[in-house]
Symmetry: C2
């Protein structure tokens, strides 16, 4: 019996779902875009992906999780990188390293087209927009805490964390714009540099 | 017939409600604190204020509006001040003026104790917390737009607006802390100064 044979048998048994998560994600994005987030059911997502509802629930607790399933990684990219930054870096240098790392990870993770579709879905739904804002606020609070753990005092810890997240958000929005071709990490670097310019006396 | 007589008659007719809005606000805050936002009804708020439900709806469209009724003024303090700032100011100076003006207005408007109670109610309820985050995000977008209207380019316009709102939020949170005695505008100034410190090379 070949591997292909085993695959066919397992697929028939509903136990072998190569890249099930990716297929569910793709199907969900298509449906959210076509008919709207609220009008899409888990059953329809599973059907479009050629999988069962049960398989959906092995990967996600509900349809919202398809959009926010990466939140833990997202947070870890910021907060983990910041916590691991060499002690010799200043607060702003450490935050810059963390935000640039998070931007690079996001760029690689699903790429710009996925992020564009996801953003369109989120912006169209107040509940999702709010969920996204809370996610970003929580990451900001995590960065401020990591900075305080490095010995940075308030309000500098909070302000530097806010500054980093602001650079991320501003760069992220530009990255998603139709005409934008530059990569996310470059846009983050540019956003952070503009703060230095604006803060310089007479800037 | 004296003014006092007229007041009594109008009150009996349910048409004269001295400081109805303030009384409804006070009653709502008490009830939200005592039994929670979700467990409080409009009827109960009106009753506690010694007013009718109809009077409530002359002032607010629903109980959430008691907490967010000042949003238009809040936004105007930021965006209006920024739009009216002298053209000679840099982007950061104009944003600083706007955020300090908004802080001073908030300090005077209801004062710290009111803000503390309101914040406790908001933090305890995800829907309200999300509404608050959206309010702040909208004001930030308004400030960025006002800066672009002044000829500030992107990403500097967005980053300077984000910076101003971050200073406001960080200062606001500290202002509400139990042990904090300094005034909001002073805390805003300190937060903005800490950014200049962190951005300075070697800072």
């Amino acid at each position: 019996m070949s591997v292909a044979d085993i695959t066919v048998i397992l697929a028939a048994m509903g136990r072998w779902e190569p890249n099930a998560q990716g297929r569910l994600e793709q199907a969900a994005m298509e449906l959210f875009s076509e008919r709207g987030y609220e009008q899409t059911t888990v059953v329809e997502i599973a059907e479009r992906a050629g999988l069962t509802e049960r398989t959906f629930f092995r990967h996600y607790s509900d349809k919202r999780e398809v959009l926010f399933g990466g939140s833990t990684h997202f947070r870890e990219n910021f907060v983990g990188t910041l916590a691991a930054a060499p002690a010799s870096l200043t607060a702003l240098e450490a935050v810059t390293a963390a935000v640039e790392a998070a931007g690079a990870a996001l760029d690689e993770f699903r790429g710009r087209e996925f992020a564009r579709t996801r953003q369109r879905v989120i912006v169209a739904n107040p509940e999702l927009r709010e969920r996204e804002l809370i996610k970003l606020a929580d990451v900001t609070a995590g960065m401020a805490e990591a900075l305080r753990a490095r010995g940075v005092e308030e309000p500098e810890a909070s302000m530097t964390a806010e500054l980093g997240m602001a650079a991320f958000r501003v760069a992220f929005e530009r990255w998603l714009a139709a005409a934008e071709e530059r990569e996310l990490p470059d846009l983050i670097t540019e956003a952070l540099a503009s703060v230095a310019a604006t803060v310089r006396p007479g800037g």
